[in-house]
């Protein structure tokens, strides 16, 4: 009743932790059995190790948080060596989130990751607002995003999901461009660019000045984008942005997402993913829905 099939991903259920909010599963895996998850999206991998931004890296806002982690990660080779073998023990599709500053970084990182048998799909993070050079440009210009998608598709042995930035005038244009370039699916949305100023220091709270806004505050923007994009593309969408409970998951599915990711809410409730997964069957029953896939896009299909 909860199973969902997407390119490269046979999901027991449509719920997976979002990239960057779950590291490589070790910490949350100490709290519960990761096998309950639909899939696991790993923290962004870059070609070289990155230390990321100076602290403070997070700040709280009304019903949201800003982060400027800056893609800290040990680099693709180290991830392949240290993290994948441990994760291979789980019966769980692994999605590798890929980031970079240059197109070539993305291509080479994707090539390496997609060659790993444990990796089921790639998620191209073309939209991380916290990387200074590159990154953001890929995410805001349709032609550039399309070119990047095509280049990665050419080398990838696994389906490629492109994760779009909401900080654009025309999200549908971005989505259509990467679909035409060969993307197998879309992830919507990454964080909104925001800032908070500390009244005591009179300076931005984050050392990086700006950060990515996530959490419940952005849910209406995410739902709108999933609703608009899902009507214009024929590839599946993994929806995210502010999901806290099973009702939110259903709202994303109704909007047009085929599966969802949960980010910030893990920090609030470390058991949020298993809690949601456990709550879904009852919700579906109350709605008279036998197969969760029936809900996808119902808000505009009916």
């Amino acid at each position: 009743m909860l199973g969902v099939h997407l390119p490269g991903l046979a999901l027991k259920n449509p719920v997976m932790p979002a990239s960057g909010c779950f590291a490589f599963g070790k910490e949350y895996g100490a709290l519960y059995d990761l096998n309950v998850l639909g899939a696991l999206v790993m923290k962004a991998a870059t070609l070289k190790p990155r230390f990321g931004n100076p602290t403070p890296r997070v700040a709280e806002t009304p019903d949201g948080m800003l982060n400027a982690i800056g893609l800290q990660n040990p680099g693709v080779d180290q991830i392949i060596a240290d993290e994948l073998p441990r994760l291979a023990a789980f019966d769980l599709p692994l999605i590798a989130n890929i980031a970079g500053s240059e197109m070539d970084d993305y291509v080479r990182t994707s090539e390496k990751m997609s060659a790993q048998p444990q990796v089921a799909a790639l998620e191209l993070n073309i939209s991380c607002p916290n990387v200074k050079h590159g990154g953001i440009a890929f995410g805001t210009v349709p032609e550039v995003a399309a070119e990047l998608t095509a280049k990665v598709k050419a080398v990838s042995q696994k389906p490629v999901y492109v994760k779009l930035s909401p900080n654009v005038t025309d999200i549908v244009g971005m989505a259509v461009a990467v679909e035409q370039a060969g993307a197998d699916g879309l992830s919507l949305i990454n964080t909104l660019l925001g800032m908070r100023i500390d009244l005591k220091t009179q300076r931005p709270v984050l050392a990086n000045l700006t950060g990515g806004l996530s959490g419940p505050a952005i849910k209406p923007v995410a739902i709108r984008m999933v609703y608009e994009v899902s009507q214009k593309v024929s590839i599946p969408i993994i929806g995210m942005g502010g999901i806290e409970n099973a009702d939110d998951v259903i709202e994303f599915l109704l909007a047009g997402a085929s599966a969802v990711q949960v980010g910030t809410a893990n920090f609030v409730n470390p058991f949020v993913c298993p809690d949601i997964i456990a709550a879904l069957p009852d919700k579906l029953e109350q709605m008279g829905v036998a197969d969760i896939n029936e809900l996808v896009g119902r808000s505009w299909k009916s």
Partner: protein, 260 residues
């Protein structure tokens, strides 16, 4: 580490904007070291909104027979204001115990330790002092506060060992910085918790004895997954190059990580 709805058994103001709160639950059984902390989901009403993220608060001390944690925190913003608005009997969603605390085994029984604290860095030193004295270690406390109205637990510390209180304005104890007596004291190891400038000063003064520092950073997850709370290591050969305050710390041996 568990997530538990812990019951507030007592909550009261003990100094200006400073709250002492006792929480009952099985989480307390898991506390292994003084200086560990809990990550609390604020519930309750505040003036300017409600908090989304959890708030890290050090465990002041643990009473395992009563399955009770004592925390001391300052009303600093929305989250702590919400927590402070609770009543005995209310429950709080607590994740913990988290992190690595102060190593008491750094001082052998019969040895001596100096504990240096500033402001809301003072609370975890109380549990540390209990553990050290229980081990037969002689403790000296150097505790700094802004002003007389901010001082708390003076007698409680004094019952465990020599205690010097410092205030910035001299309105209680001595005027000046907690680091002043350090030159005259002899001890086997030192432990410090407080604002960064204090930690830096302590680190400059104590160079030939084991010194353990408890750090603060803004946190997301509190369990090591989000990398919000990282600090650089000092050793350029260190493979990772960083530590997470939430799970590798919050207590580090002096010299392990940068204080900036």
């Amino acid at each position: 580490m568990i997530q538990e709805k812990m019951q507030i058994t007592a909550i009261r103001g003990i100094a200006d904007q400073i709250i002492e709160m006792k929480l009952k639950g099985t989480l307390s059984n898991q506390v292994t070291e003084p200086g560990q902390f809990v990550h609390i989901k604020p519930s309750g009403t505040a003036q300017n909104g409600t908090a989304l993220l959890r708030r890290p608060i050090s465990i002041c001390y643990t009473n395992k027979e009563k399955q009770e944690l004592t925390l001391i925190f300052r009303r600093a913003g929305i989250g702590t204001e919400q927590i402070a608005a609770n009543q005995p009997g209310d429950k709080l969603d607590v994740l913990g115990p988290l992190g690595h605390g102060f190593p008491v085994e750094a001082v052998a029984p019969g040895g001596s330790a100096v504990l240096i604290g500033g402001g809301v860095g003072v609370p975890p030193l109380y549990g540390l002092s209990q553990a050290l004295t229980a081990r037969g270690v002689t403790v000296t406390h150097l505790l700094g506060f802004r002003s007389a109205k901010d001082v708390f637990y003076e007698e409680a510390f004094a019952a465990l060992g020599t205690t010097y209180i410092f205030t910035e304005d001299g309105s209680r104890g001595r005027q000046g910085l907690v680091t002043e007596p350090l030159g005259e004291l002899s001890f086997d190891a030192a432990y410090a918790c407080g604002p960064l400038p204090m930690l830096r000063a302590v680190q400059q003064l104590i160079v030939d004895k084991p010194l353990f520092l408890s750090l603060e950073e803004r946190m997301g997850c509190g369990i090591g997954a989000c990398l919000a709370c990282v600090v650089h290591t000092i050793n350029p050969e260190d493979k990772k190059g960083y530590r997470r305050v939430c799970c590798d710390g919050p207590v580090f041996r002096a010299g392990e990580v940068e204080l900036c």
